[in-house]
Amino acid sequence: MNIHEYQAAEIFSRYGIPVNRGIVCASPEEARAAAQEFGSRVVIKAQVHVGGRGKAGGIRLAAGPDEAEVAARQILGMTIRGVPVHRVLVAPAIDIAREYYLGVVLDRASRRVVVMASAAGGIDIEEVARETPEKIVREYADPLLGLHDYQARRLGFALGLEQDLVRPFAKLARQLFTAYMAVDASLAEINPLALTTDRSWLALDSKIVLDDNALFRHPEHEALRDPQAEDPLEQEARAAGISFVKLDGTIGCVVNGAGLSMATMDAVRLYGGTPANFLDVGGGASSQQVATALRLVLSDPNVKAVLINIFGGITRGDVVAEGLLEALKTVDVRVPLVIRLVGTRQEEGRHMLAEAGLTVVDTMEEAAQRAVQAAEGRETRA
C-alpha cells in the first residue's frame, strides 16, 4: 500500500528522524495561510502516489504567501501520470549544503533487508543504480539481529562523510531501519536527505510503501489509505477479495490464479488483442465472487469482449458455472463472452453453460483468439 509523503514524514518523525515538517493543504487559500505561518520561502509539493512529480512540475518554490497560493492553485489542478492532485504539502524551503539518498528495502535475492545510501541524492535512485551502481553503498541487515551499529557507521564512512557527520548519519540510518521494521514496510526512503548549511541532517522527502500482507497486524494503517488515490474499480475488487489491476486494453479478463491470469493477458496480446485488466478471482471462488468479478470487468467502458478462463483445481467447474449464470442474471452483458472452463467437474459446468446458450471453448489459446476476434467485431461462433 502506498501512503503520502506527509504521512510517511509523520511516521519517520515518530522514530526520531528529523523531517522537514510541513502543512497539508487541500486549497490554494490553505497553502497561502501555511506560507504565512512559516514566514519564509516555502516549497509546495503535490501529494500523489506516483514518482517523478518533480519532473512533472508538481514541486514549486514560492517566495511568500502570494506565490504559494498561485503555485498551489496550479499544482492542485494538475494530473501527474494520470493521477489528479488533491493535496499539497507546504514546507519551509531549506538551505541545503549537500543531498544524499538513504533507503531501506527488501533484497529478494539475498532474502534480507538492505540499507542503501548514496551521495548522489535528490535524483532518481533507480537511475543511479542503473547508470552508476558504484555510487550506492549497501549494508545487509541480519534477519534475526537487525542492523548493527557498526554497519550503520560503515555506511557513513563509505559515503566519505567527514568524521563529525558519521555518527549522526549512522543514528539516522538505524532510525530508518527501525521504522521500516516496525511498520512492516516494503520500502522506506529519504530522498533527498539534506545536509543543511548548519551541518545537520534533515529528511526533505519521505516515502514509505507498506507491505499489504502485513496490514492485518497494523489496523492503524487503514486510516492512511487515500480512497481518492485508488482506482474505484480496484477498491471495489479489494473489498471483494479479488486481485484486480486496471489496464487500458479492450478485452476484459476473469481468471482464477495470478499466474494464469498473467498468462491469459499475454495470450490475448499474442493473438493481437489488448487486455483490459488483470483479474484473479482467487482460489475457492464463490458464485458471488465470480459475479462481482464479471461486474467489475464489465463496468469498464473500454471493454469490447470478456474472456473467462477458469482452470479448476480447488475451484470447481460447476461452482464457476453457477456463479457465471448468477452473474449473467444480474449484469447487463453488452459484449460477447468467451468462456474457457477446465478442471474438476468441468462436464457439469460446461453442460450448465451450454444449456444457458453460452459457448465454452476447450483451450486457452482458442479462447484468447475468439476473444480478440469478438473485440474486433468479428464472428465468434465456430
Partner: protein, 289 residues
C-alpha cells in the same frame, strides 16, 4: 525416483480441522497420500477423515513419525506453525498459506535454514509425485507419472502446463510449486539441482513470472550445472510496472523483474521459452527426442 515426496512420505497436516485443511486432507487421502497425523491445538483425541489429531507437532511426531508436514493455517499463525514443525525436527515443511508478512518470512527463512530443514512455499500449491504422493491443493487427476520435472512460482498456471503435458502423453516425475511470495523457502535453483540429480527426471519445465531475479539466477545455474533439457515459460509479458499482479512477489519494481529480462536470460542459457502454456508440451517433446 522423484524428488522430495514419494511412497515413503509420511505426511502431517497442520491445521487439519480447519475448512481448507480438512477438505484437502480428504483429497490427499483419496489420491493415496499416506497422511499419518494432523495437528490442531486443543483438538487432540479427535479424528479427521480417519487421521488421528494431536495438540502439538511434538506429540504427532512421537506417535506417528511424519517426515513431511503441510501447513493450512491462516497467515497470522502460519509462521508459528512453520517454527513448530521445524523445531520438532520435520525435515520438509510445505506451507500453502497466502498472505504471510514479508518481514516475518525474512526471519522464517533464516531460521528454517539454520535448522537444516527445507521449506516449500509459502503461497504455493504444494508438490506432487504423480501416482505416489500429493502434498498440496492441486487437482490430482491432471497429472500422470513420467519423465518431466516441473518447477513453478504459480498454482493454476502450473495446472495448465501439467494438463498440456499429460494430454500430450508426457508424464511428470514431480511437480513442485515453490510459491508466489517475495521470500520463499525453496528457489528454482534448489529444485533444478534436485531434478538434475534425479535419475528418473529426463527434462525440466521451469515456470516463472515477473518480479525478482530468481529466473535470471536459475538461468545462470542451468548454464553451469544442468545437463538435462529445460523448457521455460514466463508469465507477465503484458504486466505494467509498479503493480502487484496478484502474487505478492509478482511486481516489476525499479525497472527490475520484467518478463523480457527473464526470457532473455533463459534463452541466453539455451533454454527455449514457450510463448503459450500449451507450447511447453511441444518444446518438451522436441527436447525428449
Amino acid at each position: 525416483m522423484s524428488v522430495l515426496v514419494n511412497r515413503e512420505t509420511r505426511l502431517l497436516v497442520q491445521g487439519i480441522t480447519g475448512r481448507e485443511g480438512s477438505f484437502h486432507t480428504a483429497q490427499m487421502l483419496e489420491y493415496g497420500t499416506n497422511v499419518v497425523a494432523g495437528v490442531t491445538p486443543g483438538a487432540a483425541g479427535r479424528e479427521a477423515h480417519g487421521v488421528p489429531v494431536f495438540n502439538t507437532v511434538t506429540d504427532a511426531v512421537a506417535a506417528t513419525r511424519p517426515n513431511v508436514s503441510i501447513i493450512y493455517v491462516p497467515a497470522p499463525f502460519a509462521p508459528d506453525a512453520i517454527y513448530e514443525a521445524v523445531d520438532a525436527g520435520i525435515p520438509l515443511v510445505v506451507c500453502i498459506t497466502e498472505g504471510i508478512p514479508t518481514l516475518e518470512m525474512v526471519r522464517v527463512y533464516q531460521y528454517v535454514k539454520s535448522r537444516g530443514c527445507r521449506l516449500i512455499g509459502p503461497n504455493c500449491p504444494g508438490l506432487i509425485t504423480p501416482g505416489q504422493a500429493k502434498v498440496g491443493i492441486m487437482p490430482g487427476y491432471i497429472h500422470q507419472p513420467g519423465p518431466v520435472g516441473v518447477v513453478s512460482r504459480s498454482g493454476t498456471l502450473t495446472y495448465e502446463v501439467v494438463w498440456a503435458l499429460t494430454q500430450a502423453g508426457i508424464g511428470q516425475s514431480t511437480a513442485v510449486g515453490i510459491g508466489g511470495d517475495p521470500i520463499i523457502g525453496t528457489s528454482f535453483i534448489d529444485v533444478l539441482a534436485m531434478f538434475q540429480e534425479d535419475p528418473e527426471t529426463e527434462a525440466i519445465v521451469l515456470i516463472g513470472e515477473i518480479g525478482g531475479t530468481d529466473e535470471e539466477a536459475a538461468a545462470g545455474y542451468i548454464r553451469e550445472h544442468v545437463t538435462k533439457p529445460v523448457v521455460g515459460f514466463i508469465a507477465g509479458r503484458t504486466a505494467p510496472p509498479g503493480k502487484r499482479m496478484g502474487h505478492a512477489g509478482a511486481i516489476i519494481s525499479g525497472g527490475q523483474g520484467t518478463a523480457a529480462e527473464k526470457i532473455a536470460a533463459l534463452e541466453a542459457a539455451g533454454v527455449p521459452v514457450a510463448e503459450r502454456p500449451a507450447q511447453v508440451a511441444e518444446l518438451i517433446r522436441k527436447a525428449l527426442g
